[in-house]
Symmetry: C2
Subunit: 143 residues, 2 copies
DNA sequence: TCTAAAATATGATTTAAATCATATTTAAGA
DNA sequence: TCTTAAATATGATTTAAATCATATTTTAGA
């Protein structure tokens, strides 16, 4: 339903939201360890996120990754969509191609509503709001 | 969150609920095709389900798999628990070991309630009830 | 303009899940 | 009791996801 890669990407973006800004960029090697993801792996994901404009980066000395203020207005579903694609999270619990509300599989009504709620919730808060929750003690690190 | 194996197992059990009973057992080869799962793969899963007493089977000529009336009182979560284990579906969306309501990760409150609802729903209906829904046209095949 | 430090691009390797193959055991029926 | 048809047990292979490795490009600062 959600890949490991997406989970790692979400962790990395949240980490950047909490610790970075335009003036304070962070290098891959300083991201990997605190979020418990192998460095070479998170590097690849960060590159993908940067290419797809969900995070920002600059090369060279003093370079690194960070979130611009626009980046911080994104939400968690944006990240999942980029890494996993829309199809994966939107698919029926049994991965049936034809299943939908007018042609429901035998467990459609057990699973569908909660998935819709989940997706809605994942769109509800901006990355910035989630980072503020951490700063206000409403939610906790480490990732 | 839910493995392919669990999805296949659920499909097989629902198929048996709809088409089998003590007097009418079904062979692996007659299950695989209608539920769109490779035969050797579903065979292994059915064997596991039988060993764990979620479905019934007899060997030899006229043998096959079927659901006893007790088997039909099981629910979908029972199947997931046997195939994937409890941990997988109960884990935090970010797979954080420490995340829980009193120590919530940054997206805990976005994801937790819908997961609880999903699990509750998957326990709510017996396999028999789900099969009746199909017979009454409330839900549809194929799987 | 040179050097070093960073991301980027690309592809190789590893691992776990999914899939396949087959010898063994059990039970029905001739 | 023999044969055959079924599940069972076991392990091998394949595939996709996860992970690792490295040459290239860009940029800051000397």
């Amino acid at each position: 339903m959600i890949s490991n890669s997406s989970k790692y990407a979400i962790k990395a973006v949240l980490f950047l939201a909490i610790h970075s800004n335009e003036e304070n960029k962070i290098m891959v090697k300083d991201i990997a360890e605190p979020i418990n993801v192998p460095q070479a792996y998170i590097a690849k994901l960060l590159q993908e996120l940067a290419k797809r404009k969900l995070i920002s980066s600059t090369r060279g000395p003093k370079g690194g990754f960070y979130l611009s203020s626009e980046d911080k207005e994104r939400n968690v579903m944006d990240i999942i969509s980029v890494i996993d694609g829309e199809k994966k999270i939107n698919s029926c619990l049994l991965s049936l191609e034809r299943c939908n509300s007018s042609n429901p599989c035998p467990i459609h009504h057990l699973a569908n509503q909660s998935r819709i709620v989940l997706i809605e919730n994942l769109k509800q808060n901006s990355i910035n709001e989630l980072a503020l929750d951490v700063k206000n003690g409403k939610s906790k690190l480490p990732l």
